[in-house]
Structures are given as C-alpha cells and as structure tokens.
Symmetry: C2
Subunit: 398 residues, 2 copies
Amino acid sequence: MIASYIKEIISSKGASAIRKMFEEGKVLKAKYGDDNVYDFSIGNPDLDPPEGVIEAIQEVAKDTSHGCHGYMSNAGYDEARQAMADKESLEQGVKVDASCVVMACGAAAALNCVFKTLLSPGDEVVVPAPYFVEYGHYVRNHGGKLIEAKTTSDFSLDTNEIKNALNEKTAAVIINSPNNPTGRIYSDDDIKSLAAVLTEHGKKTGRYPYLICDEPYRAITYNGAKVASVFPVYDYSVVVTSFAKNLSIPGERIGYTCVNPACPDKADFIGGVTFATRTLGFVNAPAFFQKVVAKSWNAPCDYSSYAKRCKELCDVLDNAGLKYAKPEGAFYIFCKVPEAWGDDDAGFVSVLEKNFILCAPGSGFGTKGWFRIAYCVSEKSIVNSRDAFYKASHTPKN
Amino acid sequence: MIASYIKEIISSKGASAIRKMFEEGKVLKAKYGDDNVYDFSIGNPDLDPPEGVIEAIQEVAKDTSHGCHGYMSNAGYDEARQAMADKESLEQGVKVDASCVVMACGAAAALNCVFKTLLSPGDEVVVPAPYFVEYGHYVRNHGGKLIEAKTTSDFSLDTNEIKNALNEKTAAVIINSPNNPTGRIYSDDDIKSLAAVLTEHGKKTGRYPYLICDEPYRAITYNGAKVASVFPVYDYSVVVTSFAKNLSIPGERIGYTCVNPACPDKADFIGGVTFATRTLGFVNAPAFFQKVVAKSWNAPCDYSSYAKRCKELCDVLDNAGLKYAKPEGAFYIFCKVPEAWGDDDAGFVSVLEKNFILCAPGSGFGTKGWFRIAYCVSEKSIVNSRDAFYKASHTPKN
C-alpha cells in the first residue's frame, strides 16, 4: 500500500548501509557493552561542541522576547544570513552579502533545495566518485540522474573524466572537499582546471553547469591544508554546508546555501532555493540554532585530536596490512579490502562486523572493493580495535 | 538556468500569496509604522509559548552531556517518540506505542515525508476545499496530483463529494480539522461517514486510501469543541502535526507523524517515512526541540485570548457588512468578498491592502471569492482595523 519504489528501497540494501550499521551498532553495544564494539559506521563527531557554541546556546535560551520562536522569512533571519555572508566572504575571498544566503536545515536540506531549484526532469548531475552515499537519493528526489566520474588513483579530481561526462542535460557538478569518504582535498590547480572545463562547456552549449561545493568538512584539515575557493574562478558556483561536523552539532540540523554573488542567475537561484525551502517542508531553518550559529560560527575549535586519531588508526591499519588513502581532511579513511576479497566490499564488511567492527561498504560511495572507516570516535575504540582489524584482515574468504 | 518549472512559479502568483503578504507587511510596517498596518496575512501565533515550554528550553540548554547535539536515529529520540505516542494515545483513545511515531521538522516536513512514502507517479490525493494552500506543492513534489472535493455551504465535509473523487489512483485523502482557512471542525458523524466511504472503496478496489489528518490546530478550539479521533474508526489513518500553533513555536520546526497502530502496513509505512526523513534532507527533527517537546507537550496553555479576538474580529466584520464562516477552532476567519466583487478575491485583497489590511486571497485555498484573515495578532490591531475594513468593503469596484 506504500509506493512500490519506497517499498523496494526500504527492504533492500538501498537502505543506507551507514544508517543500517549505526542501528546495528546500537543493538550490538546494548548486548556486548560499548567497549566491545568498534563503531566506525557514521560521521557523528565525537568532539564536544566548542565553548563558544555552548555559550551561544545558553544565551539564546535566555531570550524570551515576543515572537523569538516564531516564523521569520523562509530564507532565514537577516542576522543569520549576514553572519554566513561574512563567513563566506572570508572563505571565498570575495565580498558576499546576505542576499546570497538561504539558511537551511543542514547541508542535506540545502542540497535538496538546490537540486529542486536546478533540475528539470531528466537532467544530470555529475559527481566524482567516491562520493557521499546520499547524493543519489537527493538527485532522484527531483527527477534528476546522478552521473559518476572517475577520480585518479589517489582520488584526486580527474577533470578529463568530468569533461567527458558533461552534455546538454548536465545541470550541475557536485564536489565534496575534504571528501567523504576519502579525506581528499581537491587542489587549487584541479579546481581551476575544473572551472575552465565548465566555462568552456558553458560557452559551447549555452548551458553553464552549476558547480555545487558541499563543504561541511572545510574547517577540518591536517597539516595546515587549505580548501580551494570556487567563487573567484567560476561564476555559476554555489556553496552548501552545515555546522554538523566543524561545530559537532549534527542533530540540530543547521547549515546554509550560498550562491556566488557574481552568478548571473543569482536572484532566480535564491528565489528558487527559498521556494524549495518552503514547499519541501523545511519552511525555515530552526530559529533557535540560526541564532546560535550567527553568534558562534567562528568559535575557536581544536581538531588536533582528529589528527591524532587518524595517526593511531593508520597504525592499526598498517598492522593489519590494509591499504588506504591517507586523509588530508575530514575524519574518514577510505580503505581497500584485502586482495582476496577483490570487489566484494560487502563481504569483507560482514567479516569486520563478525569481529565487532562496524564500517560502511564502498559500493554505497560509488566505489567497489573499498570500505569507509569514520574515526570520529574515542581513541580507546581505535586502539582497542587493533586485534580485531588484524583478525578480520587475515580471515580467509570462503 | 534554473529549472523552468521553478522559474515560472517564483515569478508568478504561484509564489505563496500568504508569504508574499507577510513580506509586504514587513515593508509596509517599516515605512508606515507597526500600528498603521493590519497584518492578518500569516498564522504566526501571537501568544508567547507557555511557561512549560520556556522552562523546558532552559533545562535542555543546560544539558552539556557528550553527544547531546549529535545524530540520533532518523526517526528521532526514543523518549520523544514515546512522549508523542502518549499524546496520541490520549487524543485518539487507543493505545499507541513509540514505534508508530517518526519525529519531524514540523507538519510540513511530516506531510512531505508521508507523500514521498505513499505516492507513485500519477497517484492522487483528495482534499476537501478550502484547504491549506501548500498541499498542492507537497503532493506535486512527489509526483502526485491534488484533487479538490467540494464541502457543504458551511464548509463541513461532504462525504459524497469525496466518494465521487475516489478512484484506483487515490493514494490518500487529507483532512485538516480545525481547518485552515475556515476554522471548521469536522464532526464525529462526518468522520465516521468518511471512514465508511473509504472502507467501502478499499473493499471494492483492494486499495485502501490513507486518511491523513493534519492536526496542528487540534488543541485550539472554542466553546469546548472536540476534534474527532480517526484511529478508532479507520485503520489506514495517519496523524501529522506540529507544535507550531498550540505551543507558539512555528520557527523551531518540530512535529511528528503517527500511524494508526492497527494499520496493516504499519511497519512499511514507518520504514518509508523514516527513509524519506533521511533522504529528503531532514535527516532528523532538530535534537534540541525534540527534547523540549518531549518535556513540555502537555504544558498548560490558555487560548481564551484567541476566542476573545475572534469575537472582536467578528464585530469588525459585522460592522463592515462582510459575511464569513464562524470559526470553531484555529485562528482564521474565512470571509466572503463583498457581492460586487463576485469571485475576484485577488481584486478585493488589493483593495484591503490599499487600506493597509493584509489578508490571503481564497483562490490559493481552492475557493474563489473568499479571503482568509489570520487573527493571531494583537487585539489593538483588530480593533483599530475597524474603519479600514469598513472603508475597503464600501469601495466600489472599478
């Protein structure tokens, strides 16, 4: 009696492998104890929110002014939009004003609103693989089709592959840097080269694909790495992001969309995203956390413990003889299954699970034969998983 | 460069007439002063949240436990789902457990998730008109078609009209009681009669339409009126609601979906709504306000001032010689345009606007020749609008 498409998905592996593992982790922990389950399934940041966020929460909670929990414009409070514009001005190195910003219930919400705005039936969105597992759903929700483009052997952008994927149906290219699941940061040169490819395609076809930059991990980088700015190099560019990862508040659903002020379609784009925010049922980003992030978006944060855990996890994986891509940012390691398993990431993830290690199979990220480890968990969990990883990696395939 | 469907909508009256008026109200107030603009455009509750909600906000803000702003299950916190199940058990008069509930970013979000779950391409959703202006968008988002069924002259359900609208494509019937925009509460007898019609249709065709009850105004009724319970009379029934209106926190986006525990498709339905919550980009209802409403959903509230304002507004309308449906609940009056204007509600709403009165035209609610007045505004605004309403109603049509 429910839609057959939905019935098929929820009864199959199309249901998020990440969320499935997350739920299974809860069951296993209840049964065997938290310390005996190594749950690397989900990007649920383990750091507490920074002091500045905690203070902002206390402060906003004290506000009892009339209407403070009421409706505001669908695009969000003026002061929140202005704060995000200030943030983007810093990060993009060009002057951004509040009219370029629509507040969102997290980056997932922002992406749905952007795709709703851009996609006509049959339109395509190109994504370098590996990519965040949910993009396919977001694109399909609005009648579009996700087209995978290969990356290089170290998961850097291959702009030729993207170029070959473009056609007159291409509404957008979406990139995610630092990348989930690989931790790769796309270099300045690669971004410039991508911008050149898109510009050339736009000139030739009259349709400039939007470049959508999904940036929730922008602040979480190692060894001083910087994430490239797209606004200076390509006019049809959009940043979507959230404060889930950098401020450790993923459950609060707060983020935003920001369009390049130089985008010739800026007004239509913002009008469309605002309309989509309203009619997809978000209506507006939560009032309370709009105010919290307007006050605390630049609260000092210390991500050094992620760097430390990354090092510890690499040591665990080295000990197990596993190959992986060394992350430059975010808090994921994308790891190759042992050679005997070939492309069978689901099979090896099952073996990991039998050893109480929960990871997400790479197939869901558009890349077979790999799996993702989210290391935003306690050091203890990482260190204690050493023997289990060794054992799993040395389990012969039946 | 954005989708042509979206471009058309944002440049036309398809853009919400309510939101347009709300935005225009802000401009007019800035120009002429708050006291000189009578803004009846939007259902933004004017009452402050009850003490119990304020206390719960303070209490939740004090929580700094590890992970308290992190991800939880997509369906929401167990304790929030349990609290909503307790609420529905009371309101529906049947025992509801937490597994029947998915927390949502407000009723608009819940409705999008329900339609995503139920609708296959071309499916239909029947709604008695007048109805909430956004339903059409919600249904279209997921490939469905909204089918209007007439109500009686006093806006009560006409179950024959609904019966005639049913066919093999009917996935659902949606009702909203107390109704926005009419304030009508559908009677127990009408609900029973509707349940009988749906049951008969289901037996005949093998497809039982879901009965979706959108109930954000359930608690706001006058003269002790009670809203009918649907769970005891029809198995394929669902309640969607929010705390926007009864607890005056519309900007915080918190509500839920609850399926009838007797629904034969219960598990699939909840699986689908949970999947839709995740992939439409909500991910989960905001963590903070899930906890707030779990603590304060039954906080004592006093809606007597809405009753008082209703009376005052009726007096203003009587003085202006306007005809209207007397509300039994919610905080809207649906009012007929003066006879000379016939079906031209947009025209008369423009005249109101010239007199600094902002209302929403009835066309958007599927009913021409009427307009909606949201009286969740200050008494002063209502009383002071007397002369403006009189003047507008006596303005000859050019």
